[in-house]
């Protein structure tokens, strides 16, 4: 089945395919290769052929498969597919005859739906060489890719699953021949056993391994398109591991991919797995750094410990490693708060609650000696902080990471990254403050949060960074608002004037930032608010507007005989603003904000009453 006697045409095909591609005739070399194979096929089917049409049916199948693979690279995909489908029964029959009962000849219909049921253990390949298996594997992979392009994902999965079973069958056969333990053999992903991530050149050739990497990667894509995110992520991890095992990876690119995959798990609150991937990144970088150090003369002063690992990565990737760690801690903190604030019976269980749920596909066997044991990872709710002290630990772990990232992502040159990271830090303060029981300390945290953003207020040209400058204003405003809320909670009955003054100052700072944010929506020419804010921003706009109504009247908190005209002016402003925003909601029939609008009107009405009464009280003759 390795097409003996056709070596000459194989060499010719290889030579044709290695030629530079002419952009004006992108498929020419594929057509030429196909023509060469067709000529060879014609020879086999010529006068010397036997009564069944050919003297070498296996050779015909092999050549047709090769021809089909060539044509699938061109615009003649339909013909390419037909060639492969015609060749497959003979290829599979040979495999079946050699002990592969799982391979019934493929049907040449497009709509074949074969269930993925044949367990790996049933596949036995004997007497079939690696090269023949590799051709079969290429055919399955190619058909999987073809059907994926056509958007027929079930068909794509069917072919790719065949490719996967073929690989595992071959691997198992070779391992059995070597007398290794059957129980340790790999199983397909999803079955809970390891395998897809390992590349063991002992049982199969490089071609088969490369082919299987393609299978795994294609499965990652097809599962993603089918909406099976988790399966897709597992196959992405398997691809990463196989790339690592191949030893041909570019370190920074690989690390960057691993960071992104970690993000997927962290976003899904699977913090243990997210951390495992980040640990893997750091260890690999450390190993690489150590290799470099050993390669150099120890006397040249190269640093060996500490942050040496960052020097083997591209600068931006090293910064991204820090960012990813910072975000892992931040997300854990946020999840902790959400968990804490949920009532007992409603508390959700987090995914991957214990080491027993650690998918084998996600493990890096080659790094197992470097990585912490799974038991040391923060599984399920153990990743969450339940006390202020634990929350503070997460905060303290995150801050240096964000600061390290900001060493690279400077404002000048990396505006987007710098600002987004600063906003993450602000978020970190916000969440930690929620764990703080003492309102005074809580207020101080929010003040610190606002002060960390202060240098960014007005620092960006809104013509170029409208979204970012709005975000800065809104976050600053929210920080001051939260500061005011915390101060209001601790309103000191012994020193009411002092508290009121601090509240009013905070409220004025919040008012200033909310006003900046809202004014960014004004029309440039006339300075008027548009009749309606664009759909993307309307929600943020309304939220800010309602918040402005809230903080405005707190800017003028003193209501007594000393209430000043300016305080009354602020209250009038708040009254008008609340009416305006309530009217906006009513005018545009924004159902989601109806309740807020109603309350804003109620608040406005009370403010009006308060203004009226304040004036009357102020005009009363003093006793």
């Amino acid at each position: 089945m390795e097409a003996p006697g056709h070596e000459s045409v194989i060499d010719q095909v290889k030579e044709v395919l290695s030629r530079p591609v002419d952009e004006s005739q992108p498929y020419k070399h594929w057509y030429d290769a196909s023509d060469l194979l067709q000529t060879e096929l014609d020879k086999l089917r010529g006068p010397g052929a036997l009564r069944d049409g050919t003297s070498d049916p296996e050779g015909v199948a092999w050549l047709m498969a090769q021809q089909g693979l060539c044509l699938l690279e061109t615009d003649l995909r339909h013909q390419g597919e037909a060639c492969i489908l015609a060749a497959l029964p003979r290829l599979e029959l040979r495999a079946e005859g050699a002990g592969l009962p799982g391979f019934s000849p493929s049907q040449s219909t497009h709509h074949e739906q074969q269930p993925q049921s044949a367990p790996t253990e049933h596949l036995e390949v004997s007497g079939v060489g690696h090269k023949a298996i590799a051709v079969l594997q290429r055919c399955y992979n190619a058909l999987g890719a073809l059907w994926s392009e056509r958007g027929e994902l079930e068909s794509a999965l069917m072919w790719l699953n065949k490719a996967e079973r073929l690989y595992h069958g071959q691997r198992k056969r070779v391992l059995q021949q070597k007398g290794e333990n059957k129980d340790s053999l790999p199983s397909p992903p999803g079955s809970g056993a390891e395998g897809a991530g390992q590349a063991d050149p002992a049982y199969a050739g490089d071609v088969l391994e490369a082919g299987y990497t393609l299978t795994v990667f294609s499965l990652a894509q097809v599962h993603a398109h089918a909406g099976s995110k988790e399966q897709s992520a597992l196959y992405c991890a398997a691809t990463l591991q196989r790339q690592l095992a191949s030893g041909e990876v570019q370190l920074s690119e690989w690390v960057q991919n691993c960071l992104q995959l970690s993000a997927y798990y962290v976003n899904a609150s699977a913090f243990a797995i997210g951390q495992y991937l980040l640990d893997a990144v750091q260890r690999i970088a450390q190993v690489e750094a150590e290799k470099k150090r050993q390669a150099l003369d120890a006397s040249d002063g190269q640093a060996t410990g500490g942050e040496a690992w960052t020097r083997v990565l591209d600068e931006d990737v090293a910064a991204n490693v820090h960012l990813a760690w910072g975000k892992l801690y931040l997300y854990r903190l946020v999840a902790s708060l959400a968990y804490m604030q949920q009532s007992g019976s409603q508390k959700p269980s987090l995914p991957y609650p214990s080491p027993e749920h650690f998918p084998d596909l996600l493990r890096f066997p080659s790094l197992s000696h470097l990585l912490p044991s799974p038991e040391e990872l923060p599984w399920g709710v153990s990743a969450l902080a339940t006390t202020f002290e634990a929350a503070r630990d997460l905060f303290n772990a995150a801050i240096p990471r964000f600061n390290a990232a900001l060493e690279y992502y400077k404002l000048d040159g990396w505006v987007t990254e710098y600002v987004t990271t600063q906003l993450e830090v602000s978020n970190l303060y916000r969440v930690l403050a929620a764990f703080e029981q003492d309102p005074k300390r809580c207020a101080a945290m929010h003040k610190l949060r606002a002060s960390r953003l202060a240098h960014l207020v007005g620092a960006l040209n809104p013509q170029h960074y409208l979204g970012l400058s709005r975000s800065i204003d809104l976050e600053t405003a929210n920080a001051w608002r939260d500061h005011v809320d915390a101060l209001t909670d601790k309103l000191d009955s012994k020193a009411p004037n002092k508290s009121s003054k601090a509240i009013a100052e905070g409220a004025r700072a919040a008012t200033h930032s909310y006003t900046r944010f809202l004014n960014s929506f004004r029309k440039e020419d006339a300075g008027q608010m548009p009749d309606r804010i664009d759909a993307d921003n309307e929600h943020f706009f309304l939220m800010a507007a309602f918040n402005l109504g809230r903080v405005l009247h707190r800017s003028a908190l003193r209501v007594d005989q000393h209430t000043s005209e300016s305080d009354l002016d602020i209250m009038v402003q708040a009254y008008k603003h609340l009416h305006w925003i309530a009217d906006y909601v009513r005018r545009h029939k924004i159902e989601k904000m109806k309740q807020e609008a109603s309350m804003a009107e109620q608040l406005a009405s009370l403010i009006a009453e308060k203004i009226d009464l304040s004036k009357k009280v102020a005009s009363m003759p003093k006793k």
């Binding site: 219909t109 978020n427 960006l460 009107e601 009405s605 009363m620």
Partner: protein, 593 residues
């Protein structure tokens, strides 16, 4: 957003700036599709046929390319025909001018008024993308037509103004930027300046005063792109070319008027058969050996996974995504007050079916950008809670103020200050009717409760007396001192009383059940009041309802307490009277101490 144990903070509140406040504003995206006819060389091939139809200038139908369908397909009407609707669709006859007029003309006009505009051309290699963007001398493409209009508008509308146009032309190939306006350009750095925005350091800016000026530059640039592409082995289909036209104008003698500046970016995107790698397994991915090292392809897949995980709200990267030079470059023009158009090109030939479908699918998704709304979960509740706190605090303040005034003068009723809606008379009448009904129900409920309670008291009191009498009778009978007649009467009386006690207990249980039902009814009325209050947005009525509710409840409570007190006094009197009767019957005199 609130915290501090008051309102939940959800995981979705982990945001970064881009998601927090979308950078897009007044975004307008036009998606147009242009179908390229069969080329002469294609027409001569016997198996090529045209499978795309444009209907009503908006709908693109891609016919099933399979002529020889399976029997099963035919009987089950299975077809691969696809249908897509866009803002505008152009068939074979359309010229570049027509495409321009229907998609870009208005957008280019807006550039002169300071609105950034970005135009993408997207499609498979050979689908007519570059023809649409650059065109030919007889049918100039969108790049040329845009520039022509800029200068025509200048001559027509802004002749007396300071007016300048500068162009840059660059290529993004393999995440590296090259200048197409200079020979042998090296890689250029992209950086973000807080004041100047996205900058390509060292990029040549060429002042242009006529459309012809740029034609030569474009030709040179395209030649450079083409040359490098050949060297790089079919790379042109993997590179993006970006022509940026920066327009500045300032009215003369208007010292207070600021300079208006805007950017028109025309982007010739990489061939869709390459660019769409994240959307399908892709031709390139058939090469198993290369995927071992193809970290970029895997990055696309993982990145797409991240976007899926975060849902439609996404857009923010967990860590900065490296493969995004073009996005970063164009972000400036896509944010703020901007307009965008995507011109998608597809070839009509049947052998391009899959390329065309993939391209149209991509364009179809791009269309959805228009309706994308960013959600911010969890904030609504916190607003309401905060408002409620403030309302409560203000009510207290108002009450205190009123108290201060009370010392000096009468305070006007709260409703006299509150704005009422004169147009909602019917609504108010309806509200009053509902309040009347509630009052009536409340009264009936209280009356029933009083009566039931009275009945319970009476029964309990009767049984108290009965049990006392039973005790007396037991003592009398056990003493054995009475006559036969007295003993017989005593026994009869005892039996009667025992029956009465049992009957009373049954009655008592019944009344207690009725009290429970009455209590439920009261809860129901209370919730009706709450509902009325919470569903009503009229401030005056809310205040009125609050006051009314408090007063009504207080009144009813007082009424109930008075009734109970009266009842108790009455019962006590009766008990005392009964006690005297018993004492009298036992022969003791009414001797007062």
């Amino acid at each position: 957003m609130d915290y501090n144990g008051k309102t939940p903070v959800k995981l979705s509140s982990v945001v970064n700036a881009q998601r927090y406040v979308p950078s897009t504003s007044n975004t307008s995206l036009i998606v147009g599709v242009r179908v390229r006819p069969l080329l002469k060389s294609e027409q001569t091939k016997s198996n090529r046929k045209d499978i795309i139809r444009v209907i009503d200038g908006k709908v693109v139908v891609v016919l099933d390319p399979d002529e020889s369908k399976d029997y099963l397909d035919q009987v089950q009407h299975r077809t691969k025909e696809r249908r897509y609707t866009f803002d505008v669709a152009f068939d074979f006859q359309s010229t570049n001018r027509e495409v321009y007029d229907m998609t870009l003309r208005d957008l280019v006009s807006a550039v002169l008024y300071g609105i950034n505009t970005t135009v993408f051309a997207y499609g498979a290699t050979g689908s007519g993308k570059t023809y649409t963007m650059v065109g030919s001398p007889n049918d100039p493409g969108l790049m040329i037509l845009s520039l022509q209009q800029v200068f025509q508008d200048r001559d027509r509308l802004f002749r007396d103004e300071e007016f300048s146009v500068t162009c840059t032309y660059l290529e993004v190939y393999n995440e590296t930027i090259y200048d197409l306006l200079v020979k042998n350009s090296g890689p250029l750095e992209l950086r973000e300046d807080p004041e100047q925005g996205v900058q390509v350091a060292g990029l040549k800016h060429v002042p242009v005063s006529t459309p012809d000026d740029i034609l030569g530059l474009l030709e040179d640039g395209n030649r450079r792109r083409k040359t490098e592409a050949t060297d790089a082995n079919s790379a042109s289909s993997r590179s993006h070319a970006v022509l940026e036209i920066l327009v500045k104008r300032k009215p003369l003698n208007h010292y207070r008027v600021q300079q208006l500046r805007a950017k028109l970016s025309l982007v010739d995107l990489a061939g869709s058969e390459r660019a769409a790698e994240t959307n399908n397994a892709g031709q390139k991915l058939r090469d198993g050996a290369s995927i071992n090292r193809s970290l970029l392809a895997l990055a696309n897949c993982i990145n797409a996974l991240g976007k899926m995980a975060a849902g439609a709200k996404a857009g923010a990267n967990y860590v900065p995504y490296r493969n995004s030079k073009l996005t970063r470059l164009l972000k400036d023009g896509l944010s703020g007050n901007s307009r965008t158009a995507m011109i998608t090109t597809v070839a009509a030939a049947n052998d391009q079916y899959h390329h065309s479908i993939n391209t149209l699918k991509y364009a179809d998704r791009a269309k959805e950008i228009k309706t994308h709304v960013v959600q911010n979960v969890g904030t609504v509740e916190s607003h309401i809670a905060d408002y409620q706190r403030m309302i409560d605090a203000l009510q207290l303040e108002v009450s205190e103020l009123r108290g201060q005034l009370m010392e000096h003068q009468a305070v006007p009723s709260p409703s006299s200050n509150s704005p009422t809606n004169g147009t909602s008379r019917g609504f108010e009448d309806d509200l009053l009717t509902r309040i009347d009904n509630l009052v009536q129900d409340m009264n009936e409920n209280i009356e029933e409760r009083i009566n039931l309670q009275k009945a319970v008291f009476e029964i309990e009191d009767a049984n108290l007396f009965n049990r006392y009498e039973l005790k007396q009778l037991e003592e009398f009978l056990s003493a054995g001192q009475g006559t036969v007649k007295e003993v017989a009467e005593g026994r009869d009386r005892r039996a009667d009383i025992q029956i009465a006690v049992r009957d009373n207990e049954r009655e008592l249980a019944k009344y207690k059940a009725e009290i429970l039902a009455n209590e439920n009814s009261r809860t129901d009325i209370q919730s009706r009041i709450d509902r009325l209050v919470s569903s009503n947005s009229n401030v005056a009525f809310l205040n009125f309802m609050r006051t009314f509710r408090l007063q009504a409840i207080r009144l009813q409570e007082m009424k109930f307490q008075m009734a109970v007190r009266d009842q108790i006094i009455f019962e006590q009197r009766a008990v005392i009277s009964n006690l005297w009767k018993i004492i009298n019957r036992s022969g003791m005199g009414q001797v007062r101490a």
